[in-house]
């Protein structure tokens, strides 16, 4: 590891992608992720990579589709309304099994909404904003350092499984500066894509075809079954979660991204009042770390899910707890952030319950 640098989350996303060997970036500016494009525009020129500011988000995702089809590491980034526009291309990419990384630095919606931070894209990323039976692998870092680790990891997962991978952070994670330490050398997965990529072969082999269209029912069903088998593999191998202070906890709070860090402060506040609070922080939103919740379902007085949304991840938490305990919800929207004191108040209510 090298020197500690102070960088914005958005800049670290771009630097991590470059270090992971990404030389093809296609984007369209939107607050609060535009620094990703700025950084890429500057650096790609210096290192002989490709930077295109596309004419729209729709164009950008389709350029990524093209680049990924040719077997190169490609990325796009946007924020919520821009991601909504990309959803058609994302569904096509999942269908065509194209490895790519999609960055979503989330702002508040619906519609144009506002530019302040939010977590209201959980549904559109985790549940599939596009059509069809597919899952994106969705990673949710909570610090600038973790942003780096996760973005590099995202490229490796994408290549290993031939699948689109999303890195999702609230606006604060993109805008915030923290110390980051880069590795001297990235653990880049060396994966031979020549068996499927449409990368040119001087007529020396059969053409490879990249497609998401399968007109015959049985052929498409077989394709779907293949995709599902791949998703089960990803669930088995790539689920990531941080469990903090959960053993013997009275209440478990669950949150991801910046909100999880607010919860860490709440844990200290609650401790002063004699309430032991644990935190389950999913790092992969899909695959969802359901087992972490199941494990504690009979041990705590209750769960509390906190989000910068009106309640999206909470649905997966409830599925994971499966009726064995209560799962309360607290959320703020519009760019407001759940405060330490408000979360503590919710924790107190659960802690006061008789078990």
């Amino acid at each position: 590891m090298g020197e500690k640098l102070l960088m914005k989350g958005n800049e670290v996303i771009a630097e991590a992608a470059l270090r992971a060997g990404c030389r093809h970036y296609f984007g369209y500016p939107i607050t609060p992720q535009t620094e990703v494009a700025h950084y890429m525009a500057k650096k790609m020129e210096q290192i002989g990579g490709v930077f295109v500011q596309a004419e729209s988000e729709v164009a950008a995702i389709n350029m990524v589709y093209g680049a990924a089809s040719a077997g190169v590491r490609a990325m796009t980034s946007s924020s919520s309304p821009g991601i909504s526009l990309k959803q058609e291309g994302i569904s096509y990419s999942a269908g065509a099994e194209l490895p790519m990384v999609i960055i979503d630095i989330v702002r508040c919606g619906p519609g144009l909404g506002g530019i302040l931070p939010a977590q209201c894209d959980y549904f559109q990323m985790v549940k599939g904003g596009g059509h069809g039976d597919y899952n994106l692998t969705v990673l949710a870092p909570c610090s600038v350092q973790e942003m780096y680790e996760v973005v590099v990891g995202a490229f490796n997962i994408a290549d290993r499984y031939r699948t689109p991978v999303v890195v999702m952070g609230d606006g604060y994670l993109g805008q915030m500066m923290e110390a980051v330490e880069f590795r001297d050398e990235e653990p880049i997965a060396k994966i031979d894509k020549s068996s499927w990529a449409a990368c040119g072969h001087k007529m020396e082999r059969e053409h490879n075809t990249i497609t998401s269209i399968y007109i015959e029912a049985d052929v498409l069903e077989a394709h779907n079954n293949k995709l599902q088998a791949k998703y089960r593999e990803i669930e088995k191998n790539e689920t990531r979660v941080e469990e903090f202070n959960c053993e013997g906890a009275d209440v478990i709070v669950t949150a991801y991204g910046t909100v999880a860090r607010i919860v860490k402060n709440v844990i200290k506040d609650a401790e002063k009042e004699g309430i032991k609070v644990g935190l389950i922080r999913p790092i992969t939103l899909w695959p969802f770390p359901s087992e972490s919740y199941a494990k504690y379902a009979d041990k705590v007085k209750g769960f509390l899910c906190v989000e910068m949304s009106t309640g999206q991840m909470v649905e997966d938490v409830r599925l994971a707890v499966n009726g064995r305990n209560t799962v309360d919800f607290y959320g703020r929207t519009g760019g407001n952030v759940p405060s330490q004191s408000a979360i503590l108040e919710e924790v107190r209510k659960i802690a006061a319950k008789k078990k």
């Binding site: 500690k4 102070l6 607050t31 609060p32 506002g114 530019i115 302040l116 606006g171 604060y172 805008q175 915030m176 500066m177 923290e178 110390a179 910046t258 860090r261 607010i262 860490k264 402060n265 200290k268 760019g335 952030v337 405060s339 330490q340 004191s341």
Partner: protein, 175 residues
Amino acid sequence: MQQVILAGFGGQGILSMGKFIAYSGLEEGKNVSWLPSYGPEMRGGTANCNVIVAEEEVGSPIISKASALIVMNQPSLEKFEDYVEEGGVIILDSSLVPVMPKRKDVKVFAIPATTKAYEFGNATFAGIILLGKLIEETKIVAPENFEKALYKILPPKKHGLIPAEMEALKFGAEF
């Protein structure tokens, strides 16, 4: 752990002042976070940032209780005054903030930083003067680490200014 809110008009260098402190903290081997306002209020001409410098891991980068507040306009004082913890510090530029804080349970330092900066011959030193008082009162970072950070952040063509900036910092500390 020191948690500082800096606020004022856009263009006064509020975000840069926060960066200077964050870089100095990093120089000192501490954990730091710098969170800027980037919302619609920026478009309205005001800017603020949250800076945390801590021995321990930084939890929430969003400050709910500030150990210090630096303000360079009146609306910012009104907006953030109540964030300061009891016994905390408010440092304000009295050239630009005519009405003093209502709080009686915090230490208030009113420094005519903008006026004094002109006397230094450089209007951009107002922020540095205020940071001088912050460093003096809170010991958030050592002045020598602040100086090291300046050499790292500022482009070489501006390094000639750093001795004068350190003078301004000292002036603020002693005011």
